[in-house]
């Protein structure tokens, strides 16, 4: 456990970067209190811009700041970051080859009490359709800090799914975390569980434990970067284990599962099973309740793993004639 919430680490990292890089700016659309960036404003009032409840303008101004040489980190709830500002982010930021760091907070079921209107199950999918965009979703406080810094250094726009609340730390400060490269958290030879984000990576680790008790050796990969996808690592584990389960706090369509499946279909067809939201809208409830409702749990990962292992067996049987 970290001493700090994810959002505190977000702000603290921005302040740390801004101390030495005068181009770092923070933008908000009346969610400064929620994102927790007020300490940045106190320290750098001239580099903090709150545009009010106007997300299209948030991304539009961020694009202009970038065209003027600044590196704006613009945050709002993921539902608005992706759905409300899609054309602004597509044209003014990405088509224009700008350097806008867009942050969508409260991904998927973590929107909890804000309910269905505020629950982005499709943000990664929308963003994946933007050429060259870097998309990532940190799974803990340590990777959050390391990945934000790399995103700031990256020349081009990025989209980060940010869990605001929670103090999970899966990594040690000394661990190497590289934007664009998955991290193998646990080795295994029977199946590979690929997961992204604060909600699903711990569930994947727990599922691997449960599977271990039944004699199934599952590898677990934290695929914090969804685009560009770490093809090399996925292919290595697809060859090694012959079956994969992809877990995401997102729609099954167009997210990480889709990215992995599209790649494998062309490179190395391998049985893959999804643990993701099955073509459903969001709804209100506690995080735990919603994880149950949408099957974003360790027990569902175990179930899907067994299913994919059956498919693997059939496949091996067919191959062996």
């Amino acid at each position: 456990m970290s001493e700090k919430d994810m959002r505190d680490v977000y702000t603290e990292t921005l302040i740390e970067m801004a101390e030495t890089n005068e181009n770092i700016c923070v933008m908000e659309a009346d969610l400064m209190t929620a994102t927790g960036t007020k300490p940045f404003k106190e320290k750098f009032p001239m580099r903090t811009f709150n545009v009010g409840v106007a997300e299209a303008n948030l991304v539009g101004i961020a694009s202009g700041l970038s065209a003027g040489g600044k590196i704006p980190f613009a945050a709002t709830f993921g539902c608005f970051a992706a759905r409300r500002t899609f054309d602004q982010f597509f044209i003014s930021a990405n088509y224009a080859q700008q350097n806008v760091k867009l942050v969508g907070t409260d991904p998927g079921v973590s929107a909890a009490f804000n309910g269905g209107t505020h629950m982005p199950f499709e943000d990664t999918g929308l963003m994946r359709c933007i050429p060259n965009l870097v998309i990532f979703e940190p799974s803990d406080t340590v990777s959050l800090k390391k990945l934000i810094k790399q995103a700031a250094d990256h020349k081009g726009s990025t989209y980060m799914r940010l869990q605001r609340k929670g103090k999970n730390s899966l990594y040690k400060e000394s661990d190497k975390i590289v934007l664009g490269k998955g991290n193998v958290l646990k080795e295994g030879s029977d199946v590979t569980i690929i997961a992204s984000g604060y909600v699903m990576v711990p569930e994947a680790l727990e599922a691997a434990e449960l599977l271990g008790k039944e004699g199934i050796k599952a590898a677990v990969i934290d695929m914090h970067t969804i685009k560009p996808l770490d093809k090399k690592l996925i292919l290595e584990y697809a060859k090694k284990t012959g079956a994969l389960v992809v877990c995401e706090n997102h729609q099954k369509a167009c997210g990480l599962f889709a990215a992995v499946s599209e790649m494998l279909a062309e490179e190395l067809p391998t049985p893959v099973q999804a643990v993701a939201v099955e073509d459903k809208f969001g709804q209100v409830g506690t995080l735990e309740y919603l994880q149950e409702v949408y099957g974003l749990t360790a027990s569902n990962i175990v179930e899907k793993t067994k299913k994919v292992l059956e498919r693997k067996q059939i496949r091996v049987g067919v191959q062996n004639g």
């Binding site: 001239m46 009010g52 299209a56 101004i61 202009g64 003027g68 040489g69 600044k70 602004q88 003014s92």
Partner: protein, 276 residues
């Protein structure tokens, strides 16, 4: 402004108008109407008002322009080519595959373009970002933004209007090209935008309303706008869509119209024979 200056600007506007008709006519189709209506504005900005350097288009302390109505790109390309940002012969590549002069302005393709535009309603927000950057960098120059009248129907403009006022962007000078027409008809019939002056004033801007084809009015008003203490400035330009292009001027279908190179040459001949 002296009479000599005025005559020179008028001559220059005529040249740019001719180049624009030629460039779109060479292709055979394009946004002639909204290009013609901003020729005087582009001329005075690039020949009298803006600090720019065609040899060093990315010069840090330059004035910047966001042509939010990006479809009027051809008029800006002809101005930039005439200023020497790129060879005039590029103008005949407009909209051809592989061109550096695409239908809508692209800062990564065309030297001298300060912001990519084309999806209407987005340019003013970008201009605000550029103006804020200038302020952070202590650069005492202006960002100019040109938005269309039909474009003013996009809600993002009014989000931007509030923000520019809140941020006290007195270095942002915007223009509305009020030529009274949009694709489907007259603006007053499709979705009226009046009273523009009252609207922008209500959003906290200094406003002016002038004849957008009158160089003296443009000259005085831009100078006056630059004196704004703590407010952004909106200059509403009464203009004529298609102005100076014989077959297009005032025609409702001139937003994006096909015409032959022969028709273009005919319109150019009429312009050439007209004394400024």
């Amino acid at each position: 402004m002296s009479n000599i200056d005025l005559k020179e600007l008028k001559e220059k506007a005529k040249e740019i108008r001719i180049k624009t008709i030629d460039s779109i006519g060479f292709l055979g189709v394009g946004h002639i109407g909204g290009a013609m209506s901003i020729i005087e504005l582009l001329t005075i900005l690039y020949y009298k008002k803006m600090k720019i350097d065609p040899i060093n288009p990315k010069m840090a302390d330059r004035d910047k322009l966001v042509l939010s109505k990006g479809h009027a790109g051809p008029a800006l390309y002809c101005t930039l080519a005439d200023k020497g940002f790129f060879p005039v012969k590029w103008l005949h590549t407009l909209n051809q595959g592989g061109t550096k002069l695409p239908s809508h302005c692209d800062m990564n393709m065309t030297p001298g373009i300060d912001m990519t535009t084309g999806s209407l309603g987005q340019g003013l927000s970008s201009a605000i970002g550029l103006a804020l950057s200038m302020r952070l960098d202590n650069i005492d120059r202006n960002v100019f933004a040109i938005i269309g009248d039909g474009e003013s129907q996009e809600g993002q403009n009014w989000e931007a209007a509030m923000a520019a006022s809140q941020f006290k962007l007195n270095n942002l000078i915007a223009f509305t090209d009020y030529n009274k027409m949009q694709i489907d008809g007259y603006t007053k019939d499709i979705m009226p935008i009046d009273d523009l002056e009252a609207k922008w004033k209500a959003f906290g801007w200094n406003t002016y309303r002038i004849n957008g084809h009158d160089f003296s009015a443009l000259d005085n008003t831009i100078d006056s706008a630059r004196q704004s203490f703590d407010k952004p400035i909106m200059i509403i330009l009464d203009t004529i869509k298609g102005k100076g292009c014989s077959f297009a001027e005032g025609k409702l279908n001139n937003h994006n119209m096909p015409f032959t190179y022969e028709e273009a040459k005919e319109a150019i001949k009429i312009l050439e024979e007209t004394n400024v």
